[in-house]
């Protein structure tokens, strides 16, 4: 009952999770993020119906959303402080955490579509592209929450616009690399189940730059 109420407040931007709330209910926002990201992760990992991959993906998706947020938070604080927005930091943090929780909830709501893709085809590339598109949809959903919180903040001080931009650039930069590190989420059918891909960790940006370079070579 409490969970349903929290979800309603989160999605409608009202109550304690709303942009005009007074407190910072971070524990509940983090709990929502972890719970719904794990639910969606389990669904994403169910491609080959391998129990271990389901478990790994259920662990990895909350890790992806939570860790990338945690890595970028010190800079978010510093940027807010240096822009003279320190007094609004609680509200800004509430907006960011609510955004991450919203992404997780939207992802979980899209889980039946993932299941539909898996049931309708055994194509691994389709599973990858389908999950990518659904993740993009969830990210856009998160932006609705972020915009809702930042609308109030920007009205108070236009510099919040810069704080939001900085947050987004750094967050996307970190999240792409973390997602690359944490792969596989779906699990290639011909490969053994593993938490990380075998071999040393590589850098997503270097891989992309080298691939682009090879295209024009």
């Amino acid at each position: 009952m409490k969970l349903a109420l929290d979800l309603r407040h989160l999605l409608h931007g009202t109550g304690e999770f709303g942009p005009r709330a007074a407190g910072l209910p971070w524990r509940r926002l983090v709990a929502l993020l972890l719970l719904f990201a794990a639910l969606h992760g389990a669904c994403v990992g169910a491609f080959g119906l391998r129990g271990l991959q389901i478990l790994y993906s259920a662990l990895k998706l909350p890790l992806l959303l939570g860790l990338s947020t945690a890595i970028c938070l010190p800079n978010f604080y510093a940027v807010n402080a240096v822009l003279g927005l320190r007094d609004d930091f609680g509200a800004a943090l509430r907006g960011v955490l609510a955004t991450q929780a919203t992404v997780a909830v939207v992802l979980a709501s899209l889980s039946p579509l993932v299941a539909l893709i898996y049931v309708s085809s055994d194509s691994y590339p389709l599973a990858i592209v389908g999950n990518g598109v659904l993740f993009a949809v969830a990210a856009l959903g998160g932006q609705v929450t972020l915009a809702r919180h930042y609308e109030v903040l920007i009205a108070r001080n236009a510099r919040h616009l810069w704080a939001r931009r900085t947050w987004l650039v750094l967050y996307v930069f970190v999240a792409i690399q973390l997602a690359w590190m944490l792969r596989p989420f779906v699990g290639a059918p011909e490969m053994a189940t593993s938490f990380f891909r075998s071999g040393p960790w590589s850098n997503a940006y270097v891989v992309v730059l080298r691939a682009l370079s090879a295209l024009f070579a």
């Binding site: 890595i71 800079n75 240096v82 320190r86 960790w201 850098n203």
Partner: protein, 272 residues
């Protein structure tokens, strides 16, 4: 530690650089405290920066963490030691009323803001260090982070300089009539004169404003140029900060090449 964090928080929030204080040429924070803040913040980013040297596949050495932790704050503070005399002289020539000690405080505050931003990016540097083997990527990432933090520090400095010079731009109070019956100043005479002889009040203060604003901008540009050139060269002298994977740990490298050549070489190697 808590007290230090409060100081850093105050620094970022501009508690020590309030417009009214700067306009009065007043910066009330001890220099020793600012140096301590710079040392701690630089040291914390240096630890993250040196992590690559400690974890690289070949020639790994934890000494790189120690070296980078010492070198990052040194880079900023030694650059200031070298550049400060010229920075102060130039600003004094431009008629800044900040004393040498207050100029030093202002520059240390800007460095503190820069280092605080850099330290806040430490977890991101650590994350990429743990997840990449590419030395060139780490070099480019660190240069970008130094540049981003530097721009924020410069923005802070520019705002502060604007307040320092605004003091002189404040319009003077309108001339008061002499209570002992002396003739009223020229502007009042013009206002009470007949229409035929009424002349516009002479624009005594108007041309001065753009000149002073221009002066603040010139000082800012000169300071930035001097500090950036000295800083880049100081960084080159103090290298390595990240630690090339193929070389053994060393505190310093031999004198060769320059910062810009090395940066563009690292950037180009990302594509090959």
């Amino acid at each position: 530690m808590r007290s230090l964090f409060q100081y850093v928080d105050g620094l970022l929030r501009g508690r020590f650089t309030r417009p009214e204080d700067l306009a009065a040429g007043r910066i009330e924070i001890p220099i020793s405290r600012l140096v301590a803040i710079g040392l701690v913040l630089g040291l914390s980013y240096g630890v993250f920066m040196g992590l690559y040297g400690a974890l690289r596949p070949e020639q790994a050495s934890w000494m790189q963490v120690l070296a980078s932790a010492l070198k990052v704050p040194l880079l900023f503070l030694l650059t200031l030691v070298v550049a400060f005399p010229s920075l102060y002289v130039l600003s004094a020539l431009a008629d800044s009323k900040l004393s040498a000690a207050d100029t030093l405080r202002l520059l240390l505050i800007a460095i503190g803001v820069d280092l605080a931003l850099l330290a806040s990016l430490g977890p991101v540097t650590a994350f990429f260090t743990l997840s990449t083997e590419s030395y060139a990527f780490m070099v480019v990432l660190n240069v970008l982070f130094f540049a981003a933090a530097g721009f924020v520090g410069l923005g802070f400095l520019r705002r502060a300089l604007g307040h320092v010079f605004r003091r002189e731009e404040a319009p003077l109070a309108p001339p008061q009539p002499d209570p002992w019956g002396a003739p009223a100043p020229a502007a009042d005479v013009a206002a009470t004169a007949p229409e035929a002889v009424r002349l516009p009040a002479p624009p005594i203060f108007q041309p001065r404003r753009p000149v002073l604003r221009e002066r603040a901008r010139s000082i800012f540009v000169l300071w930035t140029l001097i500090y950036a050139v000295v800083g880049a060269q100081m960084g080159w002298i103090l290298r390595p900060f990240v630690g090339t994977p193929v070389r053994e740990f060393s505190w310093f490298r031999e004198r060769e090449s320059n910062f810009f050549e090395a940066f563009f070489r690292a950037l180009a190697s990302l594509f090959t």
